[in-house]
Each structure stands twice: as C-alpha cells, then as structure tokens.
C-alpha cells in the first residue's frame, strides 16, 4: 500500500467511526471553510478544491490512526496553508481579498434598507483596507466562530497575540466606520 492511498485494511468498525467523524466535520465546517477561503481571495472553484483537499487529508489522517484534538483548527490550518501555497504559485497578492463587488448584489427588502446597508458596507470595505494581513485573517477566522486559541493554531501565533490583534482590528474598524 502506498503512503498516499487509503488504508483499506482498516477494521470495519474503525472505518465506520472514521467516516462518521469526517462526515460530521464536513457537514459542520464545509461552509465556514469555503467562506473563509473566498474571503482570503480565492475563487469559488479554487476554494472548493482546497476544501475537498483538506477533508481528504483529514480522512487520510484519521484513517491512519491520527487523533485530532481539535478538528476544526486542524482543518482551517490545512486549508489556510493550501490557500497560501496556491496564491504564491499563482503569483497573486494574498492581501487583496474582500473586494467591493459585493455592493452590487445587496438585495434588501426596501430601497432605504438597501441604501443604508450599501453605505455601511462601503465604509467597512474602505476600513478593511487599512487592516494588516494578520488583522484581517484574525477577523475572518473570528467571524467563522474560531476561538482565539484555534486562530493562534491556524496562523501560528500566541493566543495573547491573537487577542491583541483582534482588539486592534475591531477598534480600527469601529473608528473608521463611525458605527
């Protein structure tokens, strides 16, 4: 059996347990992962590819007997690194996500709501541009519900650094957006 292949010699009960765990994580985390990758600047197709790869790696790792204490942080970490590699290989800038095109697709119930939301998003968009890469990534991961410790694992930072970065980023946004 090659190193990349699935260990088909797993006992049936173990295989079922691995499948169950991977499926649960897939159902919970597929959408947040996609959102995070798209907001990092990947196209929808690339994000789908990266998510599939990440879950495939998870399945292999679980089937290989590895135990992940925090599957969510592990998956986000794998996806984040893959996204970084892809963006490096395509010679694109990593720090240019969250573009303005979103303003065109706002579909609010009333024109007043649409105008207000558009204005809010415009302010937010220009405020996001003032954030550093680390601040933006911390906020994106926080928006997907990751704890500071998990964000630290994904971005390879200390938890206290994550807390400071998030604090600084939120204050910057609040200041620029005049909420």
């Amino acid at each position: 059996m090659s190193g990349d292949g699935f260990p088909f010699a797993l006992p049936a009960s173990r295989f079922a347990a691995v499948n169950q765990e991977a499926t649960t994580l897939f159902e919970q985390l597929r959408k947040p992962l996609l959102r995070y990758l798209i907001c990092l600047g990947l196209s929808a197709d690339e994000a789908q590819d990266v998510v599939q790869d990440a879950f495939l790696n998870l399945h292999r790792s679980l089937a290989g007997g590895a135990a992940h204490q925090n599957g969510r942080a592990w998956l986000f970490s794998v996806a984040h690194n893959q996204a970084r590699n892809r963006q490096k290989s395509y010679h694109r800038r990593f720090g240019r996500p969250l573009e303005d095109g979103v303003l065109e697709m706002l579909d609010e119930s009333t024109p007043e709501h649409a105008v207000l939301k558009k204005e809010k998003f415009r302010q937010l968009s220009s405020a996001i541009r003032t954030l550093t890469e680390a601040e933006r990534e911390c906020l994106l991961l926080r928006a997907e519900g990751l704890r500071y410790r998990e964000i630290g694992e994904v971005l390879e930072m200390a938890t206290s650094t994550v807390a400071d970065t998030v604090d600084r980023a939120v204050k910057k946004l609040a200041e620029k957006c005049n909420v």
Binding site: C39, A47, L98, M105, A163, V166, V170, C177
Partner: protein, 184 residues
C-alpha cells in the same frame, strides 16, 4: 479611558475568565461609555461577518448564474431543433407582383422637399422629376422578391382586412439599395 475598555472585545468573544467576565458585566451596568463601546464593537463585528457572508455568496452564485444561462441556451437550442423536426419546411406565400410600371419610384426618393414651398409647386416638381427618369430604370422585372406579411409591418388592426401592400426595392449594380416604395 476606562480600564475595562481594553477588555471589552475579549469579553464579547467569551475569552475572559469567568470571574473577570462577571466584573466586566457589573461594570457595564453602571458605565455608559463602556456599554456604548461594547455595542459599537458588537455592531462592527456583526457587519464584518455579514460582509464576509455577502462576498462568499456572491462568488458562489456566479457559477450558478452561468449554469442557469447555459441550461437556458441548451433548452432553447433543443426547442429550436424540435420545431425544425416537427415542421420541416414552410412553403413561401404566393407573392402578388405589383404593377410597378406606375409606381412613382425615384421621384419620391430624389426630390428634396422644401417645406416652405407651396404644395402646387412641389407637385409640379415631382411630376417633372418623374418624367426625367428613364422608364427602364424602374420598370425592370425585380430579380429578388421578398414577401413580408402585413401584420409584421403594421400594428394589428391598423390596416383594414383585405387591404394589401406591395413593396418594391430597387438595387444598384454594386448591391446598394437605390430606393424602396410601398404601393397599396
């Protein structure tokens, strides 16, 4: 600046110790600026999350839009093929050739009309122009005939039933159109 303001975001994210969280909550009940700040931070965090969701849904909806467009195109092509197979050929309508010898063809096209000139004078000029045109230029048999149903030209009900028009198109040797006129 209040000393609790530094801890508001970590408290909002449930990242503070339980004892400290209780302390902050107690403080927020009495400190209006801090509670306003907390509201502000919560609002901006919610807006950021909404913004991310909007971006993700926009990027994800693009392939769907293309898929819908492609599906519509395939359906249209299939429908067209089915129509062609069901109704293979439609014979052209019989064309009533108009008596084109009497048509005031070139005169209408060439005579410039001065709006200030009296109607009588204009009529005289038109007649003179018509006389100048050699008969052969417009009484030749048309080489190409096109039948256009009257319903396609005028609005429904605009033309009384049984009323017909014939159109004559004069084409020069180089293929350009020289004039077109309608006759009842």
């Amino acid at each position: 600046m209040c000393e609790f303001e530094k801890k508001l975001i970590t408290w909002m994210d449930c990242e503070t110790e339980a004892v400290e969280a209780l302390e902050i909550e107690r403080h927020l009940r009495v400190c209006t600026p801090c509670s306003a700040r907390a509201r502000e931070y919560r609002e901006v965090s919610r807006s950021f999350a909404d913004y991310c969701r909007a971006i993700a849904s926009r990027k994800n909806s693009r392939p769907l839009r293309w898929a819908a467009f492609s599906a519509a195109a395939v359906l249209a092509a299939t429908a067209a093929m089915a129509m062609l197979m069901l109704f293979p050929r439609v014979d052209p309508l019989p064309i009533q050739r108009p008596a084109i010898a009497e048509a005031p063809a070139m005169a209408l096209r060439t005579a410039p009309v001065n709006p200030a000139a009296p109607a009588k004078l204009i009529r005289r000029r038109l007649r003179a122009k018509r006389a100048e045109i050699p008969q052969a230029a417009w009484s030749l048999e048309p080489s190409v005939e096109i039948a256009i149903p009257i319903e396609a030209v005028f609005a429904p009900g605009a033309v009384p039933p049984g009323f017909r028009f014939a159109a004559q198109l004069s084409i020069a040797n180089d293929g350009s159109s020289r004039g077109m006129w309608l006759r009842p």
